[in-house]
Symmetry: C2
Subunit: 237 residues, 2 copies
Amino acid sequence: MGTANQKTIQQIQSENSDFFRIAFSVDCVIFGFHKNELNVLLLKSDLEEFKDKWSLLGDLVRTDENLDDAPYRILQERTGLKDVFLEQVSTFGDIDRHPAGRVITTVYYSLINVKDHLLRLQHHELSWFPVTKMPQLAFDHYKILQTCIKKLQDKIDKEPVVFNLLPEKFSLRELQNLYEAILDTKLDRRNFRKKLFLMDWLEDAKEMEQDVPHRPGKLYHYRASTTKPATAQTLVQ
Amino acid sequence: MGTANQKTIQQIQSENSDFFRIAFSVDCVIFGFHKNELNVLLLKSDLEEFKDKWSLLGDLVRTDENLDDAPYRILQERTGLKDVFLEQVSTFGDIDRHPAGRVITTVYYSLINVKDHLLRLQHHELSWFPVTKMPQLAFDHYKILQTCIKKLQDKIDKEPVVFNLLPEKFSLRELQNLYEAILDTKLDRRNFRKKLFLMDWLEDAKEMEQDVPHRPGKLYHYRASTTKPATAQTLVQ
DNA sequence: GCAAAAGTGTTTTGCGTACACCCATGC
DNA sequence: GCATGGGTGTACGCAAAACACTTTTGC
């Protein structure tokens, strides 16, 4: 903040005790891809006001953790997941967004691979919901979710983030289904393949699909290498 | 937040008193356009640790105001400006970002028209600095500023926000200078004009520049109307 | 042999980019 | 008349979009 003067935070606290009536939380929109649908992980709300509603995974921020670390902790605690993709989206702080009092929340979205990590769903009631069939959400979580979906849609055009949602090896069809699910639209197969190969994100896994009732497709994996050869340089300028 | 159970905020507060050692602020990156340079409004820091450094305009969030309202209040209080363009950018919350204690801050950027509003600079030491010649900044404000510049650069390609930085009537040359200052690059004049007219953001003000030592250019103003008139529809078909 | 999806190329169109000359005004 | 910036059009290359047929496998 810009107006701090020469005081300790404790002094500020006592002089501005009102300001410390604000609680600070983090909420996570956790996306997964399952049965050709984009899913979100939700928790059954335990607030009386929101009985039968669901909510995003969230928690208060600890005083001894960086803000950007909090969502990693929450995911680890609730799902056992580590090393996931996470990105900050926005912060929501309307006065009345939480019925119990003033809570400002910073929202992150996460992309995880549902199949690889069998979630150890704890005693909490956790469940996946397709974004097209969302239950009633508590708080302002519906608005938050829509913001995250928009952000994700913008992101996948330019950045190779979708691979976080897929198993290591995948077919082009699966990848296209995923893009279609996120963008909520149909894509032309030939143009999609052309564009993806141009992006230089894919590497041939030298394997084929197994046990499909039709001609098996090739499998690919994400080319993590950031060493984009000459192409990148020619694109600049 | 997602894990609230049936408690009042006061109960939560007493049980989690540690969490309420976090202060919550808002910082504003206020952009102006002056002498063909993108400028930022800064305040001389009054923290001893940051003597001779400058900082963004910020303040603690009040318990009785929506988060998104706080930056409007801050701008009003410090500069007298009302009805400005403001957009939330991101929230910064590293443990040690503020020397006096734990402060999480949500950052907004603002675009204002320097000439129209003669700022009533109060007793605070406020000053404009070109983004190319920034002084030493306090806290993590340099990082915050860079994030905001990046956001602004992305934004002006798609959205008509730059007009907030200009007087009501302006020449195409001024507009191009502004784009060049924000993007930190040179643009081709003919292509720039073509693109801007295609965007359908401009309307002929039926006036010319005055007192310029060369052929005067036409003045335009921003076409606020989102009602793209018949042209679009009649041209289709 | 039939169903189902894989794999593949060409054409068209629009957009971004590069580029040079005449024009209107103040001095 | 000269310096300064205003105003305009064309050609090229690339990328997006539209579009149909053959191939491979399981059953």
